[in-house]
Symmetry: C2
Subunit: 430 residues, 2 copies
């Protein structure tokens, strides 16, 4: 659908006032004005099923979140240099759902800040500066974490960073052979550690995802995670689990996707889903690591982070997650979604692979299933067609050929039905 004149004008005003760095989804952007649960409405009253926005974790404009925000905003919004119960209660609620010894929360405002602080902590505690990341990943937009985000960094990889292969179960080495897959990635991490040590950086941390979004939504097998963790720890590095996207029940088995590995990381970062849209993020770690950080001169203060309003919003989100049993809801609904998507993937030759976990799913568009050649144009056409027919998804991958399905946690079976039927119709148009 072409933009209305009013929206064309708004887009031009936006380009002027926000500048050229701001990109938008779709050939023509959607002008959204209202949200409720898994539904969004545009300025013309058209209704869309939201199959993309993880930030609206407990549903757009959840009344209990709005109520918590409003009530506290009327009372007091200040910083953590004063004593206040809300931020303490929020951190305690987080401690209750974090694995192992992880029980200390540093509240920040964005996922970028969470990952940046995690790296600061790892570097100070280990005394090393080297950081291991995976190719094509994204960890945020501060100067440091942008350097750790090959997905958006045009510059060469800095000397203190080493990038290892993504656990690509579709095209990567050993994709069809679990033993060869593990051997390849064992070798990758060994090389990374050796290189960083040889360059004099040592290993401060391995920054991992529980599902690799940017490179194409790959959920690494537990044996892979365990192997990487063990090698990095043996080299004196910490494990930072970037749960900014995958955290808060999204993968269906645990609150934090990294726990699929059965191994507790040293630091967990959280962001997008934590505030149902409100800026709220966390760098959580163990008391021992936090003590070592402070003993070595580390400190942290963030004027806005941990304010009572954000803390009450965070508490409301965690209460809803528990009261609405969203972890088991995601598991059950995802099983249904994957079963229905499997039928679609088998029916349409253009779908080369269906993968992912929980509510974080990829459909890979290919010219044919044998040669796996990416078909970005077909994916774009399908994504645009679905938008025009009331279903919001997105596409990713260096070739733009991967449809990304990542709905709010409250996405239910009736929404699965609408998504799958619209997808089926979209694929029939190709």
């Amino acid at each position: 659908m072409a933009l209305t004149q009013a929206n064309q004008t708004l887009l031009e005003r936006r380009r002027k006032a926000l500048g050229p760095a701001y990109a938008h989804f779709y050939r023509d952007p959607v002008h959204l004005v209202r949200g409720e649960g898994v539904w969004m409405w545009d300025d013309d009253g058209r209704k869309y099923l939201d199959c993309y926005n993880n930030v609206a974790s407990v549903g757009h404009c959840h009344p209990a979140v709005v109520e918590a925000l409003h009530t506290q905003a009327q009372r007091l919004n200040t910083h953590t240099r004063y004593l206040h119960a809300s931020v303490v209660e929020y951190a305690e609620m987080l401690a209750d759902i974090m694995p192992g010894d992880i029980s200390v929360s540093n509240i920040v405002c964005t996922g970028s800040e969470a990952n940046d602080l995690a790296c600061q902590i790892a570097r100070k505690v280990t005394g090393n500066t080297g950081l291991i990341i995976l190719k094509d990943t994204y960890h945020g937009a501060t100067t440091l974490v942008r350097e750790l985000s090959p997905a958006i960094r045009p510059e060469p990889c800095p000397d203190y960073v080493y990038e290892i292969d993504v656990p690509d179960t579709y095209r990567g080495p050993g994709a069809d052979d679990p033993a060869a897959f593990l051997a390849h990635h064992k070798d990758q991490i060994k090389t990374a550690i050796g290189k960083l040590q040889a360059r004099g950086h040592g290993v401060a941390a391995l920054l991992i995802d529980s599902i690799y979004d940017g490179p194409g939504i790959f959920a690494p097998p537990p044996s892979y995670q365990r192997e990487l963790f063990a090698q990095v720890r043996a080299a004196g590095g910490l494990i930072i689990a970037d749960e900014v996207q995958s955290g808060l029940c999204r993968l269906g088995d645990h609150y934090w996707g990294v726990m699929d590995s059965g191994v507790v990381p040293d630091i967990i970062t959280m962001g997008k889903p934590m505030g149902d849209g409100h800026p709220l993020a966390v760098t959580a770690t163990t008391p021992d690591i936090m003590k070592a950080y402070v003993d070595k001169g580390g400190e942290y203060f963030n004027t806005f982070a941990g304010n009572p309003v954000s803390a009450e919003v965070g508490k409301a989100v965690l209460r809803i997650v528990e009261q609405e049993n969203l972890l088991s809801h995601v598991k059950e609904t995802s099983d249904y979604l994957m079963t229905r998507l499997r039928v679609i993937a088998d029916k349409h030759p253009i779908i080369g692979d269906l993968r992912g976990k929980g509510f974080f799913i990829a459909l890979e568009f290919v010219r044919d299933k044998a040669d796996k050649t990416p078909d970005g144009d077909a994916c774009l056409t399908a994504v645009e067609w679905m938008k025009d027919n009331g279903v919001l998804v997105s596409r990713i991958g260096t070739e733009g050929n991967i449809m990304k399905i990542r709905p709010p946690l409250v996405f239910a079976k009736e929404h699965v039905d609408l998504l799958v039927e619209t997808l089926d119709r979209a694929l029939l148009t190709l």
Copy 2:
């Protein structure tokens, strides 16, 4: 006042859940539960006059801000990948109050993110990496801007950073001689540029404050700013005006303190006061600089920043600033405040210096006025006594001997009277 048992317990819970990196004001922290205008209340119902919090710029819990927050939170809270009018309207309102060609806003969530992005832009646009900052300043807590924050960085100054002297008008070189003062600082900036060029970094930017908080609240004279700006620009560097603290009318003559110099910088960063407590910050620059940044491969996206709720909050704050004529209010009330403080400073020999501008004021505590030896203990005693008697101020400086007065913008003459009378009584107890 000693902590109650309940607050002692809350503090212990806080130490466990938030960890040892969290510091608090005062020997025993104040447990604040409510705010309204320039007033705050603790959990025991005691009322405090807030002479410290710049974040609550238009007053704690301003009803129009709360209403804007609530209304939009009920409608939609999403990101800038979709089209939405609120963020465009907010950026346009900012463009109307920014100087010169500065008219493009990149919305971020915190002052740290604003300064970090400003440096990214400056580095990409100039092709240089060197950054000039002032000693003992603070610009934020990401990995990069922490390195630009000697006030909190225990590590040595990195190679790409050069720190110049603060324009210390009390103890610094040329404090009593304007010509010598200017000559000293001319030489400082010249040396900085030469060193960074010799090290191969060149000059990406000079990161300046309009009032130097951390080193002791020094408002640099216009001639000083103009000299620094000219030299840095001649060397190919940009001027980043960190208005996170001093911006939004705080200094009384202009919306942005840097305009006291009469020279328009290249980038203005904004933060603390912009959302009346809500996380909202901005990196603003010219269309030409933003175009050059994007042409060279730069981009920016921040999931939470520029969401419709934050934008509506930002709009509400700007409307209030205009409707309540806060710029002229600050000017007029500050004149009254300074006049009354001058009397106090002259009366009490322990006050060595009264300085600052607008609603950003320092009282320096010294053993005697001649030798200017800092008296941190006396300042601490006064700050604590004032807190116990219902007035919130803070202290800064490497010796902790500088009382910092930095109230909300809506601070009025009757509040000045209470502040000054309480201060007078505090000083009489010393």
